[in-house]
Amino acid sequence: MADGEGARPHGLLRSTPVRQAIGVVTLMAVVGAATTTVAFLRVREGLEETIRTSLDQTAAGLSTARTAADLRNLVVAEAGATDPELRIIVLVLADGRSVGNAEARLDGGMPSVAPLSAERPLSDHGYEFRVIADDRGTLILGETREGIDDISAVFIAQAAFSLVPTLLFSLLAALAIAARSARRVVQIEDVLGRLAAGDLSARVAEDPGRRDDLSRIAGRLDRMAAAQEASVAALRQISADIAHDLKTPVQRLALLLADLRDQTDEGSPGAALADRAMAEADRAVAVFQSLLQIAQIEGGTPKSRFRAVDLSAVVATFADVYGPAVEDGGHTLTVEVPPQDAVWVQGDRDLLGQVVANLLENALRHTPGGSAIRLSLRHDGASAVLSVADDGPGIPAAERPLVLRRLYRCEASRTTEGNGLGLALVAAIADLHEARLDLSDNAPGLVVSLALPLVAPPAAGADPATAAWTDAPCPLAPAPRPPSVRAD
């Protein structure tokens, strides 16, 4: 696998293996922290128990005194031998004076202590207190919490020097492993994208030595792509063979008819028959050509040829081409394009032109004279919507999806011209462009609209498709001019 191929940093965080790795390490961290915390709490509880036991024992030792004087003497003796940093023993007498190894008094029930002198300092860690009050005075006993603080420090140190490095190391290792499989996933994704875009030669081509799930998926993907490529190649070959085998005889027929026409006197019934025969041959060829074209588009025309196309230029060109024919047919054509100059979409200029032409011809063919046809282009959010509307008889809602099928013709239009392939070709071209095709009621009439995603205008100096194929057969082609401007 190529290093770094497809391993985009922003994509990495979104990849499943990396997310799972982060998840596992997070779980490890949580479990580690939880067990450490539980252990800490158990140890602290044990220490507190020890402190309480010690206080109990001290209290029990002092409880042997019968009188206040005995207790006082006992406290003085005990306190003298006890380091107040570890344990505090103070007796507050009824008159308010106190004896013991520290200054102590009760503040609202809570004992507060202070050292007797600088030689006998108190603990910095605080004390666990026990207060026993009776008629002999108030006994304040305190046991240092130093042990508990020490054990906290031990646990914190353990976490810092053991748990955190372990977690960091596992995180890095997991991320490295996950990034590796994420790169392979991204590579598979790239291949899928290229296949979807029509590049059927795309393959993952994993090292055959690998035996994991990803390599199985990659292997199957490659086999599927190979099968798809082979079947498209076969389809193209079949199309080419059929085209050749069918068109060659039709070509001979057309040439013979032309020959016959040349040898027949102008204006004679024979000439008229020859003309009709030629027209029929043309019609058969047109049907065949359309079927072939639909098959070719559906069979995977490469999108690699797609360029940024200015739809408003396409609309203007076809409005210009069809304008006089529409008027001569007794129809009216209005054209609405956005006031901005260009409407850019990604596609094939010829095929998009074919869409406009087919929709206009469809409207012309299936509406009575005097009908109004509206060709329009507008922005709708992130889409460019191209639509052709008429006020003719329209198509019943139930029949609308059917007219997109090959060779389907509405009952009402059986008698009119057309071969039932115009809209099927439009649908195939719409699919190829990932455009949404809608047929709806124009009340009255039909409106067919095609919504294509807008794209950014091509960079200056790029070769947009408005320049057309550069090797067009005619070197004299002047650029189409806007139809509404009159020459001087």
């Binding site: 050509q289 006089p324 032109g353 032409a357 011809e361 057969p473 189409p480 020459a487």
Partner: protein
Amino acid sequence: MKLFLVEDDTAVADYILAGLRQEGHVVDHMADGRDAMAQAVANAYDVMIVDRMLPGLDGLSLVRALRAAKVMTPVLFLTALGGVDDRIEGLQAGGDDYLVKPFAFGELSARVAALARRPAQQATETVLVAGDLRMDLIRRTVRRGDAEIDLLPREFALLEVLLRRKGRVQTRTMLLESVWDISFDPQTNVVETHVSRLRAKVDRPFGRELIRTVRGAGYKIDG
């Protein structure tokens, strides 16, 4: 003109040969791509007409090989396939024009004539003349005799193409390609309506027909 036809279907080849010879061209013919390669390199033809499906060496490979060997004779491809991809493939292989079968002989003849290299034309030509009609390309005006003719831009473009190729037939599809840059043949007679409007302004008021209809082929202005 000296032409070279490479086509393996005998009936089609015979018909094309007869038609082109009748028009006064000298035409050589071969059916095999490999033989045609040697023939094309050894002779200076004005235009070659090459079928894409050939025995021996297919048409695309033949033309690619010729272009690699610096043989720049204009090539018109004949093909049974008419898809956009097929046309672009043909042009990329070094073909100059493309004709989908079945075609009318008039279309073939007009396209062959259009491909033939003409004696160096004045690229800086600013006025096109035919009979008493004058087109000024700088001022974008058209006069016939003393009368100024007011044309729409598309009518001007159409007339300009016909004048520039004076004496040669322009078919409907050729006009669609050169005036509007459209490479497919619409079902509706769109070109006829444009030409008839142009005639209504350029010919009808003057009683003398300049734009002629060539039956089975297209239109031309006589040189």
